[in-house]
């Protein structure tokens, strides 16, 4: 936020006006600016086109989809593909799997990383530095490279095609610990000291004092973690082989193989799968941005 003090002359020269008033005021047309804006809108239209095209295709009949010349605007809507997708595929089951596992991943990532971040930030205990460096070293190792031993281990546990198999490895999110540590480090030391004098235990200090103060970052991290878990393709793809245990991103790759050239249906299932996260983004835009920024190492 730009709250830098402006010289008084600048404030006097430009009285604050609403965007609407500025639009009404006659002024010289800014031709290069206008061209720039039009160009930006053109690029934005190109960027949005694939999503628009998926929605349009999903609302056509299969015959309309294949007819030429191609129509880019819809005059009639046909929701048949959606009905077929919802009744003839396992998408509702995959929705449930995705919601359930993403919720569990989010809950455990936020809770366990907060506990761990609090300990590293506020307490001194033997082995703390080793733990911290082990977490940092983890950033160097790509999770994807671990699939062979990880799969073998979970197969030994009998956890292939199980919810615990999908969820547990996804809880490894050391970045969340580092973020919590940074936010807890920024708390004044008196906060914990005075609570300790009053006889509060560490869990009470964390949940009654530290968590409420850091509620904003907690919700941002929760939303970003949920979206990440919902979108995660790689791990659920490795650990699920039965259709009824798949999550949305994995399951929908199966139907396109099975259906072949049923493009209205394929796009209907794509729209249904993308809708929850797209809606979550549009509703929680600020929180999503904040969460992405802190995960990237920038304070939002």
């Amino acid at each position: 936020m730009s709250t830098s003090a402006k010289p008084p002359s600048a404030v006097l020269a430009k009285p604050p006006t609403s965007a609407f008033a500025r639009m009404l005021r006659p002024r010289r047309p800014n031709v290069p600016g206008l061209i720039g804006t039009l160009f930006t809108l053109f690029i934005a239209a190109i960027w949005a086109f694939p999503i628009y095209w998926a929605v349009v295709t999903s609302l056509k009949t299969e015959a309309q989809v294949l007819s030429k010349p191609t129509t880019f605007l819809l005059r009639t809507f046909d929701i048949n593909s959606y009905i077929q997708v919802l009744t003839q595929s396992q998408i509702l089951r995959w929705y449930f799997n995705s919601v359930f596992t993403a919720f569990l991943v989010t809950f455990f990532v936020v809770l366990l990383c907060m506990l761990c971040g609090y300990a590293i930030s506020q307490l001194s205990f033997p082995g703390k530095n080793i733990l911290y460096w082990a977490l940092l070293a983890g950033f160097m190792i790509p999770f994807q490279g671990l699939i062979v031993p990880l799969f073998v281990m979970l197969a030994d546990f009998g956890w292939v095609n199980s919810y615990q198999g999908i969820v547990l490895p996804q809880i490894i999110a050391p970045i969340t610990i580092i973020i919590y540590k940074q936010f807890f480090d920024a708390m004044p030391p008196e906060l914990r000291d005075s609570a300790v004098i009053d006889g509060a235990g560490e869990f009470r200090i964390l949940f009654n004092i530290f968590l409420p103060i850091n509620w904003g970052i907690t919700t941002a991290l929760a939303i970003v973690t949920f979206i990440g878990a919902w979108n995660n393709f790689f791990w659920p793809f490795i650990i699920t082989t039965q259709e009824q245990m798949m999550t949305i991103p994995v399951g929908i790759t199966q139907v396109s193989d099975a259906w072949g050239v049923q493009y209205a249906r394929t796009m209907a299932i794509a729209v249904l799968s993308g809708l929850p996260v797209a809606a979550a983004y549009l509703v929680f835009q600020k929180k999503v941005t904040e969460g992405i920024m802190v995960t990237a190492g920038l304070k939002g």
């Binding site: 930006t40 934005a44 960027w47 761990c116 082990a134 062979v148 281990m153 050239v261 993308g274 992405i292």
Partner: protein, 297 residues
Amino acid sequence: MTTTPRKRRPWRTWRDALLLIAPFTALYIVFFLFPTARVVQLSFFDAPLIGEGTYVGTANFERLFNDPMFWRSVRNTFYFVLLSVVPNTFVGLALALMVVRLKFLRPPVLAAFFLPYMLPVSVVTLIWQWMLDTNFGVLQPILMLFNDGKALSVFRDPQWAMPMVALITIWWTVGFNMLLFIAGLQGISKEYYEAAALDGATSLQTFFRITWPLLWPITALVLTFQLIAQLKIFDQVYILTGGGPFNSTLVMLQYVYRAGFQQFRGGYASAISLSLFVIILVISVLQYRLLRTGAAR
């Protein structure tokens, strides 16, 4: 006792600390540190996917260095990195520059650029497979211009497959880079621009003398993220081409998957994984040294 216990007895703090760190640390050891150690161990064993196998020393690595398919996967991975990292960074910067000067049009334009990043990879690939469909794809008229007026099966053409995977990746992920650049651009004080305007600087001069140098830390950050992320390319390639056609998109993780889960050679797959670890490690260190000049954050 009349003295206030200013500090807890250390053993009590230690006990609490142990309770706080135990749940995460246990999972970290079981699902991360242990598999990491196993990758190293397995790469010296002739192990099938399930089961122990026998110790074979460095035989896996000797095979690896003489395996043209392995070198192919290394080349393909770096080819993908080349096609995606730098364009993704600069497209992100360009989009950010476009977005920040908008006022009331900003939210919809921002959403148009960022929304793809919110979609699961398989939704992205379904949409693009449909748009690029050989017979009915809406983009075929454009592709025909590059193919003497004939329909082009992009993912069956060794020359086109990888660049198209890179293009789709850019469309999908550039919103993330744009967001970081927008944050960076908003962090630049307006006073620099006011001073430049007073001195009569052109907009090009303003960009190269003010915006670009002040944005360098963010650019370095974006390049770092991109490089590491794109070395780990798998999802898009697996769904779109499965490594084909003729292995032209066989990237390192795809080869790990193929060796481990399709050919059941766990030891060999681990050796490929380990070489990917080493590449990522070396590149991280090199990059850190190269970019440290401006990347203070």
